[in-house]
């Protein structure tokens, strides 16, 4: 062990990724979706919002590879452009939700006592809310739209992170290395974010990766209920929702974006699964 030359973290990650097939597959899927989103204008054969009512509900064919939707718009192009808001949503939720949840959890777990009780009460309240209801209400208040939908989802999903972070921090709060850090005079934000955060982060990351598919699906649910992105923006969830109107006759209209959601969340799930296997101490 001691004879090992220290590997750079990046190389280590690469090495590990190649060691876990599920993490590799997951990362590849996500990368592909990311590329599709970035290169949408070059990849999409049509303008995603171009309506041709004469050519509506066409089955997959030579001109429209995946057919057309109820407005005669090219489904493939919408699928490609749809990756953008979907990913944006995911990023937004992640950027908002995880930090809030983790910070609250760390504060509660470390300080305990009154701080913990107060914060956990708030967490309890948010947790005992019907999730979708809270999201609806939020969207109803702020108006539908991509960012508001994401905000609503973030608003309802941070408590899980707070709980997890709190439990872990509470365990850590008794650990010797935090005591040791305290002994040498490290305290305040430096202790919370320099010492505790790095330890809480890994499991939160794994959970996050797992949650991402849930976020896409929840957003799709919002879309299904008409609370997602505003028309005519192509977004997978609302595409599925539109497609379900004709699901029995033109099944492919809902199936293709549904499949896209499935594959993407599958990618995130695989990555999460792989990450978990990799960070499992028994594998070290």
């Amino acid at each position: 062990m001691t004879a090992l030359s220290p590997l750079s973290p990046a190389r280590l990650l690469k090495r590990r990724l190649t060691r876990s097939p599920s993490a590799t597959t997951g990362a590849t899927i996500i990368l592909v979706v990311l590329m599709v989103a970035l290169l949408a204008p070059w990849l999409a054969p049509f303008d995603p919002n171009l309506q041709e009512t004469a050519k509506r509900l066409m089955p997959p064919g030579a001109e429209h590879w995946l057919g057309t939707d109820a407005f005669g718009r090219d489904i493939l192009s919408r699928l490609i452009y749809g990756a953008r808001p979907t990913l944006l949503l995911v990023i937004f939720v992640v950027v908002l939700m995880a930090p809030v949840g983790i910070t609250i959890g760390i504060l509660a777990g470390y300080f305990g006592g009154l701080v913990e009780r107060g914060l956990m009460r708030i967490t309890d309240i948010v947790m005992s809310f019907p999730r979708l209801l809270l999201a609806f209400a939020f969207v109803a208040i702020m108006g539908p739209g991509l960012l508001n939908g994401a905000l609503a989802l973030a608003l309802t999903s941070w408590p899980a992170y707070a709980r997890q972070a709190r439990v872990e921090t509470a365990k850590l709060a008794k650990s010797d290395y935090l005591a040791a850090a305290e002994m040498v005079g490290i305290k305040g934000p430096r202790l919370l974010f320099g010492h505790i955060l790095p330890l809480v982060l890994p499991s939160a990351t794994i959970r996050l990766a797992l949650d991402l598919s849930g976020i896409i699906l929840a957003a799709a649910g919002l879309g299904f209920l008409g609370l997602g992105v505003r028309p005519p923006t192509a977004e997978w969830g609302s595409m599925v929702a539109e497609g379900t109107q004709v699901i029995f006759d033109q099944w492919w209209i809902a199936a293709t974006p549904g499949l896209a959601i499935l594959v993407t969340s599958f990618g995130f799930n695989l990555l999460a699964d792989g990450l978990r296997d990799l960070t499992d101490p028994r594998n070290d």
Partner: protein, 240 residues
Amino acid sequence: MTTAVSVKDLSISFQSARTRFAALRDVTFSVEEGQTFGLIGPSGCGKTTVLRAIAGLNTNWTGSIDILGTPLTPGRKITGEARRNIQMVFQDPYSSLHPRHRIGRILSEPLKLIGTEGIDATVTAALDQVGLPAAISDRYPHQLSGGQRQRIAIARALLLKPKLLLLDEPTSALDVTVQAEILNLLNDLKTSHRMTFILVSHDAGVIGHMCDNGVLMSHGQIARHLDRAALSQLTEEIVA
């Protein structure tokens, strides 16, 4: 000689689900400056608990604790200058090193906080002092051997030049050769830095080798005060 630590009627109890457990009851002892003071007793008798109270890590106690002339207040953490003067080496060296910080950071962070100049040189010097190469500061704790970790923990405690060092079973998990290295090192540093040690161990040999005097604890209480002669006798008895 002056008194470095004086503990009077120290009592600590732990509240758990259904019961209240008195871990320490009326523990009284004092330690002279420059001495190595042994805390002996069977597993679970409260040795670590005493050390954590003196170190200010557990502030939920009654009685009185006086360190280097300043009394501690229950419920209040130790801060400022006094904080630097009391350091502790934990029972398990691995668990007291942050697993995601490199050795360099572990050693330099306390110095940064007090605004020392030339941190890198100080760290290198400290590593050298405990017999470790400077290159080791790029490693993570899990890349070190037990003895190396132990020395890092000691180096960190010594960097702040404390007047009082609390040692909790510093060698319990090690084989005898590594243990010998560490005990020698501690004795060297004690003389060169004029420090006071409180040493916890259930190994009679280690106590007998290191301590000038001490106490025998049992079930949260002091069973006997031991001077050097008594210590020798007691530890010989056990080993024989």
